[in-house]
């Protein structure tokens, strides 16, 4: 890893961590839901600060080239995130349907009541 790219990665990781805390403070994100991302940002930061860690980690899980490990882990992480999003999207869809149905029912009740009065 050249020094140049090392600095770029460190800057991006730091920025991502800072932004995450800003968003949490503003109430745009919850700490719990963003936790996996924070861990990933921290890992990226550590790997960029001490590239040797990457070599150790790669050989520990039996991958020759540290870069391949990065791709491998990134795909796994993203797959989990997207799968989770699919699940919560389905949940949200169900909740929205229930709310739309309930609103329609209540609206009719209100209309009926005001017609009587």
């Amino acid at each position: 890893m050249t020094l140049k790219i090392q600095i770029v990665i460190i800057a991006i990781a730091l920025l991502a961590i800072v932004m995450t805390f800003v968003f949490i403070k503003k109430g745009k994100l919850g700490l719990k839901i963003v936790m996996p991302w924070l861990i990933v940002f921290l890992l990226v930061l550590i790997f960029a600060l001490v590239p040797k860690f990457m070599n150790w980690a790669a050989s520990a899980i039996g991958i020759y080239d540290p870069v391949n490990m990065v791709f491998f882990l990134a795909i796994i992480f993203l797959s989990f995130v997207i799968y989770g999003l699919t699940m919560s999207l389905y949940e949200t869809k169900k909740q929205t349907r229930d709310i739309i149905q309930k609103v329609a029912y209540l609206e009719e009740k209100i209309k009926q009541k005001s017609d009587v009065e």
Binding site: R97, I100, Y105
Partner: protein
Amino acid sequence: MKKLVIIPAYNEEKTILNVVKDITDNAPDYDYVVINDGSRDGTKKVCEENGIHFLDLASNLGIGGAVQTGYKYAWLEGYDIAVQIDADGQHKAEHLKDLEQALNINDENPEKADMVIGSRFIDKKGFQSTGLRRFGIRYMTWLIRLLTKQTITDPSSGMRMGNRKIIKTFAEHYSWEFPEPETNAYVLKRGIKVTEVPVEMRERQGGTSSLAHPLKALFYMIKITEGIIMETLGGRKE
């Protein structure tokens, strides 16, 4: 006894008035409710101007969500019978009494069915649907027979009547996209008694089928297969 007709309507401004009139003329002992499923045409306006009783969904839910709104309404309002019909004028209100005769109302005739489907293919009278579509219907019949060992000749019929037990079941669980064949499989797998009675249907009086394109029809068959199989999983006899 309280009886309700559920009419899910998406862009049916041309036909909705006739469908409602058919019920008030030929089945006056039934209440009805139109579910306006976020129509983009004048369906809502037609309903308001003619004093049609309707529920207005704030956003388009699709046929499953719209029909389920009707079953939820029937459940909350304490209806003994609920029957769904299409808003495009295919179904005739005169047949409602035929469906009712085969229904086990308030558990008074346990030998009768909990759900009655109006089928085009028993007497083979009236509009019999088009070639490709009939092939699709036969396939669904075969698939449902394979999974539940029971024969439904018209599994996609949008004319179905249910008692309180069915109203509760559908208020709690209803499929999204292709609800009729899927929910038929669902209730059959759970040991709920289903029967069919012959009805005549008309050709749609307005609007276009949601499955006009052949590629769409193929896609439909794949998804419906998945849907029917999923609905029969985890089934338990009562």
